[in-house]
Structure formats: C-alpha cells, structure tokens
C-alpha cells in the first residue's frame, strides 16, 4: 500500500515534559486512521506537528513523499484539517467563512462550489447566517466544510466530536464514512472515545504518554475468532474462586465492574454455560462482547484506563 504519511521517531519536549516520545507510524492511502489515546496522551501534539502548528524537537514527518520541513506549503495544499473546536469568524456568515478559507487554501472559489460544500454538510439553508447564531454541531460541520473546500486527499480531524450531542456525533461519523467510502479520502481522526474510533477506523494507533502502544488494522485488533464474555452471577467472588480451579481458568481475565470476564471462542460459550451450572454457579446473565474497549482491556489489563476512555 502507498503510504501518504510517514512519521519517524517524532519527539516533542515542552520543557521537562515529554509530550511525544519517539513516535513512528505510517498512514496508507484510503485509510481511516484512528488515533487513540487518553487526554494528555500526545494525540493533539502529534496532530499539530503534522499541521506545522508545533515544531518537533526531533524526528521526521513525510507527507505525499515530501518532507514537511522543506515542502510545507505544497503539503498543506493537500491537507484539510479540523483541530478540536471548530473556531471560525463568528461575525461572518457560513458562506463568507467558507469563501475566505477557500481563498487561503489556494483556490478561487465559485458560488456553486461553496454552496455545494455547504449542502454536503447540511448548512446550505443557513449559508448567509452569521456563525455566532450556530450551534456547536453546526460550527463543527462548517469546520469540516472548510477542511474539504479545496478537495484535499488527506483530512485530519482532531477530536471532531468534542462537545457534540449524540445526533451530532452520529452525523460526523456518517460524514467521515461517506468521505472515506464515496470520495476515497484518507482520514486521520483522533479521539479519546473508543467506540467512536471503533466504528469508523480501518487502522488504529493507540498511544499513551506520548509513546506508541500498538498500531494495527482494526480487523487484526478485533480478532473475530475470540469473544469477550461478561458473566454475571449471584456471587461473582465465589464463582471466581470455583472457576480458578477449573479448566476455564486459562480463559479468565481480570474482573471488571464486578463481572467475570472470559476470553474464548463463540463455540465454547454453550459448554461454559453447562459447566457453570455443574459447578453450582447461579447465572444472572451471559453477555458476549467484542469491541475495542475489550481490546483495551487486554492490552492494558487495567480497568481504570478503560473507564477513563469510555466515560
């Protein structure tokens, strides 16, 4: 696969704080690249280095085969970005904002193009309203229209769902999927929300304290042959003691939210159910799960970490 972005040994210090530590990763053409980490993990710093807002202390960034250090303008012509809050000029209308940033992106925008962009993000009927009258979700959609107005092959979205209501989050998610599937855009999207990334990403990079924890395709991370099973019994502590001495001990994972967690194949679930009954364990529920959240559980083996992400 052709790599659009190559990041090598990227490091950033702010005084004594190491925000990004020797980070390397590649993004292929057409990927929806999920960039995942807790707040303060170094996601935004990395993205800002990709967009030249922050100068790296060390390391190299190569986009479209060019070094960002030497070909900044050429590269940024091919990138559209939304960085955290969608801040635009509040005293200008949506149309005026879009036109202004289109010109700054190096294109001569015509009316049809601008209206088409606003139509795509559902703002055509509010084109002439000043942005100060917009909701957060509308501002976010306008931010995305600005990012897309010059038709860049790479789109960088830093926490694009921040501050949005569930409908707004769903709208942004659908827009990302549409851009990826229909327009074949390469998208880098950062988030601290596991379920968001899980639903859209084709590749995922997880970082913590500025360091890479894991980078792989979403398919590889979500092993379909393995299921995470949450088991709730009338006495989970007693059940854990009995199971620890049984043949199921190897499938047991650390308890989460007071529930028993198993990792096993789908085919093993009926047998587990039978054995639980045989062991005298009274079942309340069996709930199979297979999500990124569970993957986190595996790689971090820490409840607190996962809770931070999911709450």
């Amino acid at each position: 696969m052709q790599h659009i972005l190559k990041v090598s040994n990227l490091t950033k210090y702010f005084g004594n704080l190491t925000a990004v530590n020797d980070l390397s990763f590649n993004v292929g053409a057409g990927d929806v690249y999920g960039f995942l980490g807790q707040n303060g993990a170094g996601k935004s710093t990395t993205i800002r280095m990709l967009l030249t807002l922050i100068t790296p202390t060390d390391g190299d960034i190569e986009l479209f085969g060019y070094s960002l250090k030497t070909h900044r303008k050429e590269i940024l012509r091919q990138v559209g970005a939304v960085i955290e809050k969608p801040d635009v000029y509040k005293y200008l209308s949506a149309y005026e904002n879009l036109k202004l940033f289109a010109k700054l992106s190096g294109i001569k925008p015509d009316h049809a193009l601008l209206m088409n962009q606003l139509e795509m993000v559902g703002l055509a009927n509010r084109a002439n309203d000043t942005v100060k009258t917009f909701s957060q979700g509308m501002k976010q959609r306008l931010g995305i229209a600005i990012a897309l107005v010059h038709n860049p092959p790479l789109i960088v979205l830093d926490e694009p769902t921040n501050g949005l209501d569930p409908q707004g989050i769903a709208d942004i998610r659908n827009l990302i999927l549409q851009l990826s599937r229909a327009q074949k855009k390469t998208i880098i999207v950062s988030s601290h929300l596991l379920n968001e990334i899980e639903q859209i990403a084709t590749r995922i990079l997880i970082i913590d304290k500025g360091k890479k924890l894991v980078e792989d395709s979403a398919a590889a991370l979500f092993d379909s042959t393995q299921t995470i099973l949450q088991v709730h019994t009338t006495n989970n502590a007693e059940a854990l003691e009995k199971l620890s001495q049984s043949t199921w001990a190897n499938h047991l994972k650390p308890m989460r939210d007071g529930l028993l967690i198993f990792q096993l194949s789908q085919e093993q679930i009926p047998q587990l159910n039978i054995d639980l009954v045989k062991l005298g364990i009274e079942l309340l529920s069996l709930q199979p799960r297979n999500s990124l959240e569970d993957y986190f559980l595996q790689i971090t083996a820490g409840k607190q970490y996962v809770d931070t992400f999911t709450n």
Binding site: F14, R48, L51, T52, L53, I54, T55, R72, K73, E74, I75, L76, R77, V79, A81, I83, K85, D87, V88, Y89, K90, Y91, L92, E96, L100, F101, K103, L104, S105, G106, G143, I146
Partner: protein
C-alpha cells in the same frame, strides 16, 4: 500576499468595532468644530490675550487651517487608542477566537500571514488619518473658510501664508501617519504575547503613556534615552509649520526651519516600525500554537 491582505482588510471592515473609531473621530471633530463655530471668538481672544496689547490682527484667524491645527493637536493624543483597538487585536484576537490555528494550517507562510496582518493594520491607520484630514481640514475649510494660518508658539508667533499652508498639512499628515503606524506596529508586536485583545490594547496605551512621560520629563537620568523613544518624535509633525526667514525677517515660502529634525524623527520612527514588526515575525515563526 495580496489575496491575504484583501482577506485581512475584509475581516477588519466586517467588524463593527472598526467603525467605532471613525464614528468617534467624526464626533470629536464635530464637537470641536461646533464649539469653535459658536464660541470661537471668545476662544481666540483668550488665546491672544498675551499678544493683544502688541498685536493688531486683521483677517480671519479662526479659519479652517487654524481649526485643523487645533484638532490635530488634540486628536493625535487620542488616536493611538483607536489604532490600538485594531492593531493590538490582529494576532491576539485570532488566538482568542481560536481561528489562528486554522489560519496557520493553510498553505501560507507565517511571515506572509503576519505581514498581511500588519499591512492591513497600516491601511486601517492610514484610512483613519485620511478621515481626520477630510473631517479636520477639508470640512473645517468649508465651514470656517481659509486665510493665513496664525499660530502662537511658546515664545513667538508664526504666520503662514494661505498659499503656503496646504502642502505643510500634507507633510504633517504624512508624518503623523508614520507616527501612528509606529503605534500600530507596537500594538501588533504586543499582540503576539497575549491570547485576548484587552491585554495588548491596554499594554500599548501603557507603553505610550510611560514613554510620553519619560519624553517630557527633564531628568538627566532619562535624557540619554529620550532621543531613542518613539514618543519623543511623534509630535514633530509641528515642524512643518516652522519656516526659515530671510535677512529682512520675512518668511521664505516653501521652507522648513529644521528639515533635519523631521528626517531624523522619521528615521527613528521607521526604525521602531521595523524593530517591532521584525521582532514579531521572528518570534511568531518559532511559536508553537498550543491553544
């Protein structure tokens, strides 16, 4: 660069606050003109009190040229605040709104972005001065008529022939423009250090007030730095209204008493502009945009 300058001007003139300055100048000049139209005779009698016994003046002292001189003296003290409102907001305002980071992700160099912003502030400053010229000089000429310009200096009187006045105002306004662009450059430089508009605006005015006090205090400790303070040179537009005299003590038409002083002051103001804007560019090119 040109596109970016157009965009910056578009943003400036789309903001209501921009027109506050023009409205304020219109109101101030209107008030002065009204006051002098109604009570101008009493005003000139009061000003001329010291000369009344030794001078007999024919003609229209309270003419448009004189009114403009009074307006310039009063207004050029307050115009820096109006300039700071825009210039000191150029970078900090963008940082405050959060648009700075979006702006810097566009394929434009930081230097080009900054220069476009500064030149937009310069255009605004020049338009403000042109407006002062229209309201203060042209409107005053229409309302009060024209005649020789009669000025009372601390120890002498200057009478500038009507035919010799207009070009002096052109020169004075050009010099004032340079002085006000220096204020804009200061505000622009201070704008770099803050992420809200109020701080740099207040800081700009504070620097001007402190430097003006230092410029006017006659204390040996400060006398060495006085020549290098831009505030020591901002009022030298008045030099355009001092002329040379011949052996018969008659004014030499088209002359300036001390052109060297004007050139020197212009150079110092220009050096300040280069210093402020250059420093802002150097610092801005290295700045990490975190907010």
């Amino acid at each position: 660069m040109w596109t970016h300058l157009q965009i910056e001007l578009y943003k400036i003139f789309k903001r209501p606050r921009t027109y506050l300055a023009f409205a304020a100048i219109t109101a101030l000049i209107g008030v002065i003109q009204l006051g002098l139209k109604v009570d101008g005779k009493e005003y000139t009698e009061f000003v001329m009190a010291d000369f009344a016994t030794s001078f007999s003046v024919d003609g229209n002292i309270l003419n448009g040229y004189f009114i403009c001189y009074v307006i310039l003296q009063l207004l050029l003290v307050h115009v820096p605040l109006l300039i700071a409102l825009i210039a000191a907001d150029m970078i900090s305002g963008e940082a405050n709104m959060g648009t700075l980071r979006l702006l810097l992700t566009k394929p434009q160099s930081r230097t080009a972005i900054l220069l476009a912003k500064f030149f937009a502030a310069v255009v605004y400053t020049l338009l403000l001065l042109i407006w002062i010229a229209i309201m203060g000089l042209l409107c005053s000429m229409l309302i009060f008529g024209t005649d020789d310009l009669f000025l009372m200096k601390s120890s002498y009187v200057v009478i500038v022939k009507e035919s010799d006045v207009f070009w002096r105002y052109a020169g004075a306004f050009c010099f004032a423009a340079l002085a006000m662009v220096t204020v804009a450059a200061l505000g622009f430089f201070l704008s770099f250090f803050a992420e809200n508009s109020i701080g740099p605006i207040v800081a700009t005015m504070s620097v001007i007030v402190v430097c003006t006090i230092l410029s006017t205090m006659n204390i040996p400790l400060f006398n060495t730095i006085k020549p290098f303070l831009f505030t020591s040179h901002m009022n030298n537009w008045k030099e355009f209204f001092d002329f040379k005299v011949n052996d018969a003590n008659e004014a030499i038409i088209g002359s300036i008493q001390n052109p060297q002083k004007i050139i020197q002051s212009s150079c110092i103001l220009f050096a300040h502009i280069i210093g402020f804007v250059g420093s802002a560019i150097i610092l801005f090119r290295k700045k990490d945009i975190l907010s």
